[in-house]
Amino acid sequence: MHDTVLAVDRIAKRYGDVVALDGMTFDVRAGELFGFVGSNGAGKTTTMRIVLGVLAADAGEVRWRGRPITLADRRRIGYLPEERGLYPRMRVLDHLVYLGELHGMGTNAAIGAAERWISRIGLRAHRDDRVQQLSLGNQQRVQLAAALVHAPEALVLDEPFSGLDPVAVDVLAAVLRERAEAGVPVIFSSHQLDLVERLCDRVGIVRSGRMVACGTVDELRAGGSARLTVTAPQAPPGWADGLPGVRVLGTEGPRTLLELADGADDQSVLRAALATGPVQEFSRHRPSLTELFRDAVTAETRAA
């Protein structure tokens, strides 16, 4: 059985007449990286704020290890809010120690952890600088350390990769992997879908305050159909129309992108293509997360 640490159960939230969350449900298990994706305004940030208790849900429940979450549980979560914020005039080390202590660490333990994280994120030279003296990228690193300093038992990170340079992205990705391997569940939202696909064990796609797809990238693909890319320069427009189980997604010069329904025969497509003349490319591929995401979002739009 999976060891569920954090469960979000049918959370609803309205801002006046605007429905922000409408039955949001998912869970995160020990040692898993959970990617939280969705368009702007889909409800990712609102969900995270409700998990951390800085916002109250209208209905539904957040559970920690099977029971309703309390403030004591929330102190064991590392949180990176969407709107970054630190005391501008506090020194980096002092700030991390302070946050460690607020999360219940003893002073010495907090100092030790703060020093370690400062080294880990590459800010040793700025240890005694005031936060406002740092560049925005470095402030972002401090903010990440602030979410990690108290050795949290779960991580909830809103867009942790935005604003980081490629080196910092790699450092953070490694840190998140390592935390997950230590058994810490990690939820993070991102618009960098390739990164999410590469990093995450499971992905949840959010639209209009609901989870529309949730599972491993392979599980999400299973629902989708195979795709073919065919490059046949002499093929007339509409050459693939009418082939059984085939839908034309688009053409791009000599290239045609096709979607195969379950059980459709790709060899009959190849034969039809060869009938038009030479075929320079014929490839079958599985949809990327970006394509799955686009499908999930547009499917809903078409339904709406």
Partner: protein
């Protein structure tokens, strides 16, 4: 791991410690405190100059006392005071001159039984000079007789004195007490406005920098508010004690206050009322601050609160200086919004009976309980709403 509310006390203490350290280490704290001490020193100095201003005294002599002109002048001179001596045609004219202020004192009567008439009080140096002259007179008279008991002589000399009549007698400490009341009210007014504003600015800083979201993910709003209020209150108390100690020290050193006990009493009352006033206003300031998200908007929400304290100070001080026992200032000094500035002023001026002080303290405590509850609710409701100014009604929902 089983405690439901992990260490509330420790959390509040941590927040308070951060506030205290940040503020006490800041340059503005040192400069501000220094500035007030200098201001206070200036006031005390001015005070001692004002009260010791009559370096030059004019004394009128009438009747037999005219004989004293030369000894009075020389005795006063050895005591470090220039005395102008005028002969007055008669006691009646002399009294008139004293009343109008042309004479500081009128001396009449036989040299061994002088009578002195003054407007309110006799200058200490002139008094000393006159007494020594009279005693000299008595001594001379005693020497003229023979076979006297030396003990009897010294008793007679000690008994010799002058009789002082004041035309418009006044409490000799009235001026000093009023000044003390004024200074106390001023320092309290300043402390309340300064540290109340500091609370509001701290709240807005956390809101505008968004750090409040990280904090409130691990700390309850009331813990954050309580820590901030306690931490900044402690800084204010520290500053008040530094200023108070400097003030009492200066006053004692320059003898500006004949009664050092009065200064200590004023300091004690000042500290008590600072605490009452600070806790009365702090959550109101915090609630006001939590309604806005930008430092530029702070002034707008703070102005009404500061205005109330300023009115208490300006109106109160005016009433106090005119007549400390005035019923209007009595009533105002009992009301919680004004009491923290007015009551310590009246206590320092020595015109507040114990029952009024007690009543004012009780009313203030009740107001603190009510405002802390209300302010805490507004703060908790508004502190996470960034962007436009939060309406009071929305914050309370």
């Amino acid at each position: 791991m089983s405690e439901p509310e992990p260490g509330s006390g420790r959390t509040v203490l941590l927040v308070a410690r951060r506030e205290f350290r940040t503020r006490v280490r800041s340059r503005s704290f040192a400069i501000g405190t220094g500035l007030i001490v200098v201001l206070l020193a200036g006031l005390v100095l001015m005070q001692s100059l004002l009260f010791g201003r009559s370096e030059h005294t004019t004394v009128g002599l009438a009747g037999q006392a005219t004989a004293l002109a030369a000894p009075l002048r020389s005795t006063a001179h050895t005591l470090g005071r220039d005395v102008d001596v005028q002969e007055v045609t008669g006691p009646a004219a002399g009294v008139e001159a004293v009343r109008s202020g042309r004479l500081d004192a009128l001396v009449t009567g036989a040299p061994d039984a002088l009578r002195v008439t003054v407007k309110d009080q006799l200058d200490g140096t002139v008094r000393a000079a006159l007494v020594s002259i009279v005693q000299q007179q008595v001594l001379d008279a005693q020497f003229a007789e023979v076979g006297l008991d030396p003990k009897q002589v010294s008793q007679n000399v000690a008994a010799a004195g002058i009789r002082v009549t004041a035309l418009e007698p006044a409490d000799p400490q009235r001026g000093q007490r009023l000044a003390l009341g004024f200074v106390t009210a001023f320092v309290l007014y300043f402390s309340l406005v300064f540290f109340g504003s500091a609370v509001a600015q701290g709240v807005v800083e956390e809101k505008s920098s968004r750090v409040v979201e990280v904090l409130l993910a691990t700390v309850r709003p009331w813990q954050l508010l309580a820590g901030k209020v306690l931490g900044l209150g402690a800084v204010g108390l520290l500053q008040l004690l530094v200023i108070g100690a400097a003030g009492v020290g200066l006053a004692t050193a320059t003898h500006a206050l004949p009664v050092p006990g009065a200064a200590l009493g004023a300091l004690g009352a000042g500290v008590l009322w600072y605490l009452l006033g600070y806790f009365l206003y702090a959550t109101v300031f915090a609630a006001a601050g939590s309604l806005v998200s930008r430092q530029e908007d702070v002034q707008g929400v703070l102005t009404p609160i500061i205005l109330v304290i300023a009115v208490a100070f300006v109106v109160g001080v005016n009433l106090l200086l005119r007549d400390p026992a005035d019923p209007a200032s009595t009533v105002l000094s009992l009301l919680p919004p004004f009491a923290p500035v007015l009551m310590p002023g009246r206590i320092a001026a020595g015109v507040a009976p114990a029952w009024q002080v007690l009543l004012a303290v009780l009313l203030a405590l009740a107001a603190i309980a009510a405002l802390t509850w209300l302010g805490g609710r507004i703060y908790a409701g508004a502190v996470l709403r960034t962007g436009a100014r939060v309406r009071l009604r929305d914050a309370l929902r």
